[in-house]
C-alpha cells in the first residue's frame, strides 16, 4: 500500500511540481502601478497577473517547443489519420477522464451529473469498446465537463493569479491543482501499480496531447497571426472560458431523481 502510494505520488506530482518549482525559481514580478493612478491600478488588480514577466518567458518557451516538436508531430499525425479516427481518439481519452469528473461532480454537489459520468464510463468502456466509441451520448448521457479547479471554484476558492505553465499552458493558482487531482483519479492510477499500466498511462497522455494539438492546428496559427499580443489573447480566452464553465456548473439545476420517480410536489 505504501509502495503504491509512493508510486502514485511520484507519477502524479511529477506532472506539477517541476512546473511550479521552475515557475517559483524564475519568478519575476510585474511592477504594480501606484495606487494614486486609480484606473491603471484597478486594471492591474483586475488583470491579476503579477507573474506576467515569468509567464511571458514560459509562453515563449512553449511556443518554441510547439514550433519544433508538438506542431510537426501533430501535422504528421493529421497526415496519417482521418477526422473520424481523431474523434474516436478524443472519445477514448475523454472516457478515461470520466471517473475524475464523477468525483468532481460529487464534490460540487451535483449527484445527477456524477451519475451521468459513471454511466458514461461504464457504457463507453464496455459497449463503446474501451471508450473508442461514445454510445452513452446516444442513450441520453452527453459528456459534461468539469475538473478539480472548477470544484475548488464551486467551493468559493478564488482563481488566484494567472499562471502560464511550461508544457501545460494557461492555468492559475487554483486551477493548477487540477493536474495532480485528475491524474490520481484516472483508472490507471486506481488499479494496482504495474509497469504495463504506467506505460499505458504515459502513452495515453502522449496521444491525448497530440490529438488535442492536432485539433488546434489551424486555430493556434490564426491566433498567432491575427492577435497583436497572443499572450494577452490566450490569457483572456482562458479566463473567460473558465468563468463560463463555472457559471454553467453553478446554474445547472439538474434533478437528483431518475425518470421513473415522480417529481415531488412543490
Amino acid at each position: 500500500m505504501k509502495t503504491k502510494l509512493k508510486h502514485r505520488l511520484r507519477h502524479g506530482m511529477a506532472m506539477t511540481i517541476p512546473a511550479l518549482a521552475l515557475a517559483t525559481a524564475l519568478a519575476g514580478c510585474a511592477t504594480a502601478p501606484p495606487k494614486s493612478d486609480t484606473a491603471d491600478y484597478q486594471a492591474y488588480q483586475q488583470l491579476n497577473d503579477p507573474l506576467e514577466p515569468t509567464n511571458r518567458v514560459f509562453f515563449k518557451v512553449n511556443n518554441t517547443l510547439d514550433r519544433y516538436v508538438m506542431k510537426p508531430v501533430a501535422e504528421g499525425y493529421v497526415h496519417i489519420t482521418t477526422q473520424g479516427i481523431r474523434n474516436h481518439v478524443g472519445d477514448f481519452t475523454s472516457n478515461i477522464g470520466e471517473p475524475a469528473r464523477m468525483l468532481n461532480f460529487m464534490a460540487e454537489g451535483h449527484p445527477t451529473d456524477a451519475g451521468t459520468s459513471l454511466v458514461r464510463f461504464l457504457v463507453n468502456s464496455t459497449v463503446g469498446i474501451g471508450g473508442i466509441f461514445d454510445p452513452a451520448s446516444s442513450l441520453g448521457y452527453p459528456e459534461t465537463d468539469t475538473d478539480f479547479g472548477l470544484t475548488l471554484a464551486s467551493w468559493d476558492v478564488p482563481p488566484g493569479p494567472y499562471l502560464y505553465l511550461p508544457a501545460f499552458g494557461p492555468s492559475g493558482v487554483r486551477d493548477v491543482w487540477t493536474y495532480p487531482f485528475d491524474w490520481f483519479a484516472t483508472p490507471m492510477e486506481a488499479a494496482p501499480a504495474s509497469a504495463a499500466l504506467s506505460d499505458f498511462g504515459y502513452s495515453e497522455t502522449g496521444i491525448h496531447l497530440v490529438n488535442t494539438r492536432a485539433g488546434l492546428l489551424g486555430t493556434i496559427d490564426q491566433i498567432n497571426a491575427t492577435a497583436l499580443d497572443p499572450y494577452a489573447t490566450f490569457r483572456s480566452l482562458y479566463r473567460q472560458s473558465r468563468a463560463s464553465q463555472l457559471q454553467q456548473i453553478q446554474q445547472r439545476d439538474t434533478r437528483t431523481w431518475p425518470d421513473w420517480y415522480h417529481q415531488p410536489a412543490k
Binding site: A39, D40, A43, L47, Q83, N87, G90, S94, E143, D145, T212, G215, L216, G218, T219, I220, Q222, I223, A225, T226, A227, L228, D229, Y231, A232, T233, R235, S236, L237, Y238, Q240, S241, A243, S244, Q245, Q247, Q248
Partner: protein
C-alpha cells in the same frame, strides 16, 4: 475539450467580430434571428463561391460593414484608453481597426471553404438578442456560435460573438490593452502594432 471547442468556435466566427456600447432599442428575437439567418447565408455564399480570393475578400469586407457595427466595436475595443487617446489617435485607431478587421477576415477565407451555417434559437438579453447558431466547416468539429444583435439606427447589427462563454469583443479588447500596458500606457504603441500587423499580413498575401 471545452477549451478546444471554444477556441475553434472563436476562430470560426472571427469574420463577424463586432461590438457596441451605445444605447439601443429593443429588438424582437424573430427579427434578430431572421437577420442572422440572412447574414449567415450571404457569408456562406461568398466563402463557398467560385470567385477569386481577392474578389471574395472585397465582398466580405462589404458584407461585414453592412451587418457589423464596426465603429462601435472599435470604441469598445479601445475601452478606457479612448479617454487617453487624442482625437487624432482615435481617428487613426478607427481607420486601422477597419483595415485590420478586413485583413483578418481575408486571412481566414481559405480555412472555411465549405462552411455551413444553421440558426437554432434566439433569446432576448436586455435590449440585445442572442442568436444561437451552429457553424460547421470540413475537417473541423461543429462550433456553437452565439451572435449578439442590437438595433442601431433602426437596423439590426451584430455587436458581439459568443463562443462557449467567450466574447470576441472582450478578447480583442484584452489583446489590445496588453499591447498598451506593455508599452507604458501609450496608445501610440497600439497604433504602431496595428500598422505593423497590417503591413505583415498584406505582405504575406
Amino acid at each position: 475539450m471545452h477549451f478546444r471547442r471554444f477556441i475553434l468556435g472563436a476562430i470560426a466566427s472571427a469574420p463577424m467580430l463586432t461590438v457596441t456600447v451605445c444605447a439601443a432599442q429593443a429588438l424582437s428575437p424573430n427579427t434578430a434571428k431572421s437577420f442572422i439567418s440572412q447574414s449567415g447565408d450571404k457569408l456562406v455564399g461568398i466563402v463557398n463561391s467560385n470567385a477569386s480570393e481577392s474578389q471574395k475578400a472585397t465582398e466580405l469586407r462589404g458584407l461585414v460593414n453592412q451587418i457589423v457595427a464596426v465603429d462601435q466595436v472599435g470604441d469598445y475595443v479601445l475601452g478606457r484608453y479612448k479617454n487617453v487617446a487624442t482625437p487624432g489617435q482615435q481617428q487613426q485607431f478607427q481607420t486601422l481597426f477597419h483595415q485590420l478587421l478586413s485583413y483578418n477576415i481575408t486571412y481566414q477565407i481559405k480555412a472555411y471553404q465549405g462552411v455551413t451555417f444553421q440558426v437554432n434559437s434566439a433569446t432576448p438579453q436586455g435590449d440585445d438578442v442572442l442568436v444561437d447558431t451552429t457553424v460547421t466547416a470540413p475537417d473541423k468539429a461543429p462550433a456553437d456560435v452565439g451572435w449578439v444583435v442590437e438595433e442601431s439606427a433602426g437596423q439590426p447589427k451584430i455587436i458581439d460573438v459568443i463562443v462557449a462563454g467567450t466574447s470576441l469583443r472582450i478578447t480583442t479588447r484584452n489583446d489590445y490593452a496588453g499591447v498598451i500596458t506593455d508599452n507604458g500606457g501609450q496608445v501610440s504603441a497600439l497604433l504602431n502594432a496595428m500598422q505593423s500587423q497590417i503591413s505583415k499580413i498584406s505582405a504575406a498575401q
